[in-house]
Amino acid sequence: MSASNPLTDEQLAANFADIAPPLTNDAALLEANKCLFCHDAPCTIACPTHIDVPAFIKKIATGNLRGSARVILDANPFGHSCARACPVEVLCEGACVLNDRDEQPIKIALLQRHATDHVLDRKLKLFQAGKSTGKKIAIVGAGPAGLSCARELRRAGHAVTVFDAMPQPGGLNTYGIAEYKLKADIALAEVQDILDLGVELKSGVTIDSLEPLLANYDAVFVGVGLGSTKRLGIPGEDLPGVIDALTFIAHLKTHPYRETTVGRQVVVIGAGNTAIDAVTQAKRLGAAAATIVYRRGEADMPCYHYEYELAKRDGCGFRFNAAPQRIIGNGSGGVSGLEVRTAGGSETIPCDMVIVAIGQGDRTELTWPTAHPKVFIGGDCANGGAEIVNAAAEGVAAAKRIDEMLTVKDGKGR
C-alpha cells in the first residue's frame, strides 16, 4: 500500500467536489420555467415522500425560495441530502413527462438544492415545535428515518429523545454517502435543523434492549439501519489491506482526504451502489487502478445504471463473472492479489487493497418485536436497505401513526 497519497490537495479537492454543482440563479430560473406544472404530477407520485414538485418549482420561478424550500422540507425532512444523493433518475426525474416529449427531464434535484440551499445558507428556520403534549417518544438511531420521525413528532408537540451509537448523528448521511454527492457538513447542518426543534440527542449510546425504553416512553421508533458489511467467507479476508466499504467510506468522510489510505491497485468486490461509491472514491483518492470484481455478469449488477456509467467515466475497471476465491497475502502484512474463478479457470488479479462491498447484514446487537403496539420501525432496518428518501418517508409515516395513537388514546382530537 502506498505510504503517501500521490495527489495534491488541489487535485483531491477537485476529485471530491460536488458532482452536480449548484445552479446559478439564472440557470435555476430558466429550468424552473421549463416545468410544465403538471396536475397530479408523476414526479410527485414517484417521490416516496411525495414532495409537491411542481409547486416547489413554480415557487422558484416566482422568486419565492423560502416558500419553495418549505414545500420540499415539509414533505421530506431530508430535502437537503435528497437533493444531492437521491437516485432521481429512477424517481422524480425518471417520471417527468418531458421524457415523453423526447426531452431532458426537469432538473428536479438541482432545483430542490437551489431552494433548500437558500434556507440552509441563511439558516432560516421554517418549522416550529408544537405545543407540548406531555408525551415522550424514544427513537433508536439518528439516521434519516429516526430523525424524520423525530422532527414530525416535535412538530406535533411530543418530547423526543434520540439514541445513536455513533459520535455524530445523521447515520449513513454523515458516514456513508459518496463524498462527491453529499458532504458531512451539509448532512450535519441538516440534522442540526431538526435537533433545533428541541430533540434530545444521546450520541455514543448503543441500545441493546428496548425494554427500558418501553418502560419509560409512550412509544419507541427503531431506525437503526443495517449492520456491518457481510463477510466474504473466503480465506484471507482478515488480512491487513482488506477493508469493508462502509469503513473505508466513513473514514474518508470524517478525515482530511489524504489521511485515508488507498492502494495503488484497488479491487472492490461487489457491484451494488455501495461498491460503486467505493471504487469511484478509491480512484478519486488516487488509486492507479480501481476495479470492480463481480461474480455475475454486467446485466446482473444491482447498482443503478447511471452509477455504473459514473464509475466508467471515472476510469474504473470491471471484471465480470469472476467469483472471488481467496485473498492472497504479500508475506509482509498486506495483500498481493485476489484469486477468482472464471469460466476459463482460476486467475489471480494483482492488487494491494481489497474493498468488500457485498451488502450489509442485519443488526445483531438489537432485536425488536414486530407487532408491539408501542414499537414502530422504519428505514433500512425495516425495508432491507433503500434510499434516504425511503427512510425519510417511513420516518414521517411512523410519526403520523405514533401521533395518531397517542392523541386518539387521549381522546383529544387534533
Binding site: L29, A32, N33, L36, H39, D40, I45, D100
Partner: protein
C-alpha cells in the same frame, strides 16, 4: 423570389421594414449602419426643441426567463439640436438615396412653429414627415405628443398646418391611448394626412420595486408613467391597425407598429392592412441584425404561399375581421386529444376543470392508458385545452358538422334561423371538497 419593394404613399423603400422613431434612429451612424444591414427605411428620432432627459429611462417586463416581453420608456424626443439632426438626415439621404428616410417631428402647437420645422425638414431631402402625435409621457404634459393625438380637432388642425407647406408625404402617428382610435384617424384624414402610422406606445407603469416601493424605471426614487411597447403589445396593435384599415372613412396607407419582432409578426400586420412595418424594441433588444431574418423569413413565406408582392398579401385578413354579431353560431368544434402524443401532464384537465367548462375527464394513472379524455357532450370547443397543451398538435379542435344552416346572433335574435343542438352540460353546479371527477 418574392418582391419586397414598397411604395408607401409615394415613399419608396427596398423592403417594408423601417426602423421606428426612437433610440435606434437617433444619429447618422445608427441609421447608416441599419441601412447597411438591410433595413428598408428609418423614421428619425423625433426632432423638436431639444429636451433634457432623465437618467434611468427604460423599464422591462420579463416572462420567466424571457427578457423584455414588455418594455417601457420615459425618454423624451431628441436631445440634439434641430440643425444637427437635419444635417445628418440630409447626409443619410444623400448616401442612401434608395432607402426611405422619414423625419419625425414634434413642436409646440403653433402654426408658425410647424411651418418652420416642416420647411427646414424638406430642405434635407427627406422622403417624408411623420407627425409624432403619440408619445404618452413627458411631452404630453407640455401640450404635445399624445396631448394632440387624443383630441380629434387638434389632430386635424395641426395636420392641416403641416399640409399647408409640406410637399412630401405626411404620416400621422397615432396614440392608442384613446377610447376609439378611428375618430383620431378620421381627423387626420380630414386634415389632409397622406398616411397613418400606429400604434405609438401605451401608457404604463412597468413595475414596482418591492424592496423600495419605487415604480420602475426609478428616477431618484420616483417614476412617471411611460410608453409601453415590445412583444406584449402586438395584439393591441393588430386590433387597432385592423380597426383603422377597415374604416371606410380612412382609406390611406398605414404603417404598422407595435411589438413586431419576427417576420411572422410582420406578415400578420400586412395581412391586416399595413403597408410598411416599423420596428424599435426588437432592435433595442437584439440589434439591427434582426432585419436579415425579417426579410428572409417574409420572403420565404411569400414564396411558399405563392405571394409575389406585398400587395398580394396586404389586407388579406381584413374581410375576415367581423363583428361578433355576425359570427356563425352553428359552427361547432370539439377538442380532440391525440393520445399517442399525450405526455400525461393533465394541464388540459386542470385548465378545463377550473378555468373553463369541465369537459375533460381524468382516468386513473394506474391503468397505464390515457389519463384524460374529452367529455364530448360538455365540450364547447373553446380552445383552452389546445392552448395550454405543451405538445404540438396533441390537442386539436375539430369541426363537428351539423345539418343546420349558419346563423349569426344578429339573425337569430331577429327570429331568422335555427340553432343547432349544442353541448351544454354542467356537472359542477354543486361542489364539495370530496367531489372527484
Amino acid at each position: 423570389m418574392a418582391d419586397l419593394k414598397t411604395n408607401f404613399a409615394g415613399i419608396q423603400s427596398p423592403n417594408p421594414f423601417w426602423l421606428a422613431s426612437g433610440p435606434p434612429t437617433n444619429t447618422y451612424g445608427q441609421v447608416a449602419k441599419a441601412f447597411d444591414e438591410g433595413w428598408g427605411g428609418a423614421v428619425w428620432k423625433t426632432i423638436g426643441e431639444p429636451i433634457i432627459n432623465v437618467f434611468s429611462r427604460y423599464g422591462s417586463v420579463d416572462l420567466g426567463p424571457n427578457r423584455m416581453m414588455g418594455f417601457n420608456n420615459i425618454e423624451l424626443i431628441s436631445d440634439r439640436p434641430i440643425a444637427e439632426n437635419l444635417k445628418e438626415i440630409a447626409e443619410v439621404k444623400r448616401n442612401y438615396p434608395k432607402h426611405a428616410v422619414i423625419a419625425s417631428l414634434m413642436v409646440e402647437s403653433k402654426q408658425k412653429a410647424w411651418h418652420e420645422i416642416v420647411k427646414q425638414t424638406e430642405d434635407t431631402g427627406a422622403d417624408g414627415i411623420e407627425l409624432n402625435f403619440g408619445c404618452p409621457h413627458g411631452m404630453s404634459e407640455r401640450g404635445m405628443g399624445s396631448a394632440v393625438g387624443q383630441v380629434p380637432d387638434y389632430t386635424c388642425q395641426i395636420v392641416g398646418w403641416v399640409k399647408e407647406v409640406a410637399t412630401i408625404p405626411v404620416i400621422v402617428k397615432l396614440t392608442p391611448n384613446v377610447t376609439d382610435i378611428t375618430y383620431i384617424a378620421r381627423a387626420a384624414v380630414k386634415g389632409g394626412a397622406d398616411a397613418l402610422s400606429l400604434i405609438n406606445t401605451i401608457n404604463s407603469i412597468v413595475g414596482v420595486d418591492l424592496t423600495t416601493f419605487e415604480p420602475q424605471p426609478s428616477v431618484a426614487g420616483k417614476s412617471s408613467h411611460g410608453g409601453y411597447c415590445g412583444p406584449a403589445v402586438k395584439p393591441i396593435a393588430l386590433h387597432l391597425v385592423s380597426a383603422v384599415a377597415g374604416d371606410a372613412a380612412v382609406k390611406i396607407p398605414i404603417s404598422g407598429i407595435g411589438g413586431i419582432a419576427t417576420w411572422r409578426d410582420a406578415a400578420e400586420f400586412i395581412a391586416l392592412g399595413a403597408g410598411t412595418l416599423q420596428v424599435c424594441t426588437a432592435v433595442m433588444h437584439y440589434g439591427f441584425r434582426i432585419v436579415e431574418d425579417l426579410t428572409d423569413g417574409l420572403s420565404n413565406w411569400m414564396d411558399e404561399r405563392g405571394h409575389r408582392t406585398l400587395a398580394d398579401v396586404r389586407g388579406r385578413a381584413l374581410p375576415r375581421v367581423a363583428k361578433w354579431e355576425d359570427l356563425d353560431l352553428n359552427y361547432h368544434l370539439l377538442a380532440h386529444i391525440d393520445q399517442d402524443k399525450c405526455i400525461k401532464c393533465e394541464l388540459c384537465w386542470t385548465a378545463c376543470e377550473d378555468g373553463a367548462h369541465q369537459a375533460i375527464r381524468r382516468l386513473p394513472r394506474d391503468n397505464g392508458g390515457p389519463v384524460v379524455e374529452i367529455i364530448e357532450e360538455a365540450c364547447v370547443g373553446c380552445n383552452l385545452c389546445a392552448a395550454v397543451c405543451p405538445v404540438q398538435d396533441c390537442i386539436t379542435m375539430r369541426q363537428v358538422k351539423n345539418d343546420y344552416a349558419p346563423v349569426s346572433w344578429k339573425n337569430y335574435a331577429a327570429g331568422k334561423g335555427k340553432l343547432a343542438p349544442r353541448s351544454e352540460q354542467f356537472h359542477t353546479a354543486t361542489w364539495s371538497p370530496s367531489t372527484k371527477h
